[in-house]
Assembly symmetry: C2
Homo-oligomer: 614 residues x 2
Amino acid sequence: MTLQTLNNTRELAQQLRVDSVRCTTAAGSGHPTSSMSAADLMAVLLARHLRYDWQRPDDPDNDHLIFSKGHASPLLYSMFKAAGVISDEKLINGYRRFGSVLQGHPTPVLPWIDVATGSLGQGLPDGVGVALAGRYLDELPFRVWVLCGDSEMAEGSMWEALDKAAYYRLDNLTAIVDVNRLGQRGPTELGWDLDAYAARVEGFGCHAITIDGHDLNEIDKALAHATEADRPTVILARTRKGRGFSEVENREGWHGRALPTEMAERAIAELGGERHLVVNGPRPEGRPVQARPSGQVSLPRYQQGAKVATRLAFGQSLAAVGTQPSVVALDGEVGNSTHLEEFARAHPDRYFEMFIAEQQLVAAAVGLSVRGYIPFAATFAAFFTRAHDFIRMSAISRANIRLCGSHAGVEIGADGPSQMALEDLAIMRAVHGSTVLYPSDATSTASLVAQMAEHSGVVYMRTTRGAYPVLYGPDEVFPIGGAKVLRSSPDDHVTLAGAGVTLHNCLAAADQLGRDGIRARVLDLYSLKPIDTQALLEAASATGDRLVVAEDHYPAGGIGSAVLEAFNDAGHPVRISHLAVRDLPGSGTPEQLMKAAGISADRIAEAARQVLST
Amino acid sequence: MTLQTLNNTRELAQQLRVDSVRCTTAAGSGHPTSSMSAADLMAVLLARHLRYDWQRPDDPDNDHLIFSKGHASPLLYSMFKAAGVISDEKLINGYRRFGSVLQGHPTPVLPWIDVATGSLGQGLPDGVGVALAGRYLDELPFRVWVLCGDSEMAEGSMWEALDKAAYYRLDNLTAIVDVNRLGQRGPTELGWDLDAYAARVEGFGCHAITIDGHDLNEIDKALAHATEADRPTVILARTRKGRGFSEVENREGWHGRALPTEMAERAIAELGGERHLVVNGPRPEGRPVQARPSGQVSLPRYQQGAKVATRLAFGQSLAAVGTQPSVVALDGEVGNSTHLEEFARAHPDRYFEMFIAEQQLVAAAVGLSVRGYIPFAATFAAFFTRAHDFIRMSAISRANIRLCGSHAGVEIGADGPSQMALEDLAIMRAVHGSTVLYPSDATSTASLVAQMAEHSGVVYMRTTRGAYPVLYGPDEVFPIGGAKVLRSSPDDHVTLAGAGVTLHNCLAAADQLGRDGIRARVLDLYSLKPIDTQALLEAASATGDRLVVAEDHYPAGGIGSAVLEAFNDAGHPVRISHLAVRDLPGSGTPEQLMKAAGISADRIAEAARQVLST
């Protein structure tokens, strides 16, 4: 292991600047000036503080480096070149090109990148999750270094992150803020007022260090100091955007612009020309990872007919799945409503209270997934909308996270529309690679929670507030992507399809219709994405393409749309009678509100009669 | 005008507590203890500081009172009783009942409520918008008072709000934080550490006052002091949850629980019994409102065939619409990308830079709409996902806000997926009462921007990064809810439907097909919600139900789903060939990425040929 002298590091910093200019000019786009301001910071970090085995990116002892200011990707990729893991040719000819892993903003298609960034204000919250894993679960001495922009300090999520970092005393986390004073379209709010930043950081319980971000000695001391602090550290570095090239340095109008070729040539000359240094920075001390003993998962078993809320079944099942030592639970300060508290009681060491900060709730899950954990985050389904940009980005990160949203739909009753998730199915279905589950009873909930733990991507489960009868025997299995036929006969007249609470209404409607001699097949669409197209086709075929679909959700993009899309994709368009919540609800009892929304048993039966009469 | 003595105010506070207990016990649910902690604060405010003409809630001089801790609705409604505007009978028998305006969380179905709250962390950001209007646009001396919970201080959005309040020196804004130490499921992060809160508040540039929230004198002085400060004030009040009833005061386990009847009787007795005081608090000084002179709107006119990005047309058209004095623009620090800077140049006094804080960006729009302004907020379409909970809540507020999201889809090219909106149409379509527009050219953009200004509800426009030919003559009109047939003949074989960039691809595909003698009708679906069902039915009818729909969006919930839903609702199911972005994109040129996603002209033409061959 060779620690670099600061003199060599100066050369390295200039190389990072030159390469940032070269790759962006070659690509014709990108953010060279935002890279140049942070080059000294990253050069010292790479050469002297980041403990990383570049040949073994999966080494659990490696430090973690996250570019929260993802638009500085030229700097990050230039660091990879300096570390000797990508070639100069690949940097220059690959950056931002079609099919290349060197994308415009960092994504974990490269093994040295943990999470996708580029939507500002996310890398630091993600880093909090990684640091939580290191401090409380891995119990490994790795550090998490996050390069932040100054503009993104305007995002509330950054303060959620610092708040939680301090609360959990994440002394293994260091944020380095590149205070270059210039945002995309002009000066930032706080400019170079490092004291103002420091007051905020200290107010939020973290250790603030203010430095000249171009003074290698100051940088070196601050980074060393950060490793010794007993709290999370935020290094506030005063820098100059475009540092090192006089034509753009500290000037407005150069955000996100590649330099034209001739200008780039002058920049490279002023920066001392091309270099091809390869750095040998510090390596982690290899420590054997403790294998965690795995317990037997014994899912709860529910008696058919007993009334059990799916949110309770979720909590109980997750507590059972929690005997697997990788399973971690994250609460948005509503664990007594989502029933995540069942997990907390069983596995308090793997339960993290994130309080009412849904962005950090999801980001912590993303960070934990970086370290291979199986995070389940839960809050009211409506409040996951608060974190949707994080959910969207987690799909780009290919993160494996599980979200459980409780209190869905008008069924919640008196609390009113602010607490009712009525768009969540549409929103979560639209996420790339997502899985969307909506069980109707406790047995199916238990089966699906167990599968969620094994499933990759963003997996969302919607649960219901009220207690409804257990519909299935305890040994029934519910594969993701399946559906269940709960009522059928050889000559059914109409199919009633629902999920969650409307499935119970469909069953009651089938009973009503049965009394009039109308035989209704009832379909449980517990898996909305993927949806069981075959089951839909069979039901349609068996009932002459007569279908009623009822959902406790607004009409656009939810269960009805999922059904229409499935039929369309199968090449068999079917008209459905679509019952959904079309007016803005208020308070009331669940029964009053479902009736008013037209998704009650009566209304489903009426729709079935209409379908049969036309 | 009678200012209440503090002795009377003590009685008032007890009345507010008793009524909070009574209405929740009668309803069987709600949050009495969270109301009781803040009763002294609100009694002094109502009796001595809130300048409000209760008979004239539309008086522009009235102060504004927002309950950011919306679950304390029993306290708010009890204040309305004390102000003499709702009856005791309505309070007790209406609260949380079906059809009642006294919903579980405040909604503006009542004239004294500005915005819906209940998703925590939103009332204060909304209040920033109202205060912005008062300070910079109305230039009226009204004050904005926001009652906040301590738990919600964990939401980053609260710090976005204080940051912007300080940046804009909103001395007309006072936040009153009810620090009762107990959240829903246990103690809050900071407990009663008022100094920790104060350090954060002062760090964010606001004036912090710490008080005993049950000492009427201290409250009174703090509220008076707030009206004299030259910055926004945050009153941090140490309180006890359930204050006044010894069986629950400062005890865990009583969040969000109505007291059982016998317990309620004991509580009422301990609080001194029922009272029916009516308060005459201060009234606003009536000031004549200055009528704002309205200019002539002269929309830009674009030459057919010229290449103009719809994002540029948006900015230019909004600048033109800005001659109406109610139009206000809000930027998420990307005004040079969204082209909102065109408005900034023309109307700098009605342009607010919210920096990179999308939650506050949308909340400011909501607050401005409270004062009757016509706010347009713009950022990258992908980043509105950051504010989705605010958008969802704005629909419950019946707010009239306009959002413009630029840089949609893979078409943006090299920046990669973090910057690509690929779910926005699904998300925005799912919002209650929303309007979703996606113009393909500059002329239609101009027409739609002008209509957005007049349209109510949440109106969303998606714009495109690249410049494409102007398709329509400058006098063409584009009613919301309409569609345009751009190519047709009496005997078309197939319909190609798109919006935004894919419409241009549809046109190119039609040209390709035409060379092979295949006549393609081309449909511009510029209005996705409401969608022009009639136009879809006519096109389907004219082309034998052969349709190709192409969208630069993920497949679930977007344009394809909107088309399928429309056909379904019309009772005429049609199978569409649905081209959408199905894999996670990376960087590349727009052409490379659209080809890879299968939404290029070639792929549309190929899909049309397949439709015709089956």
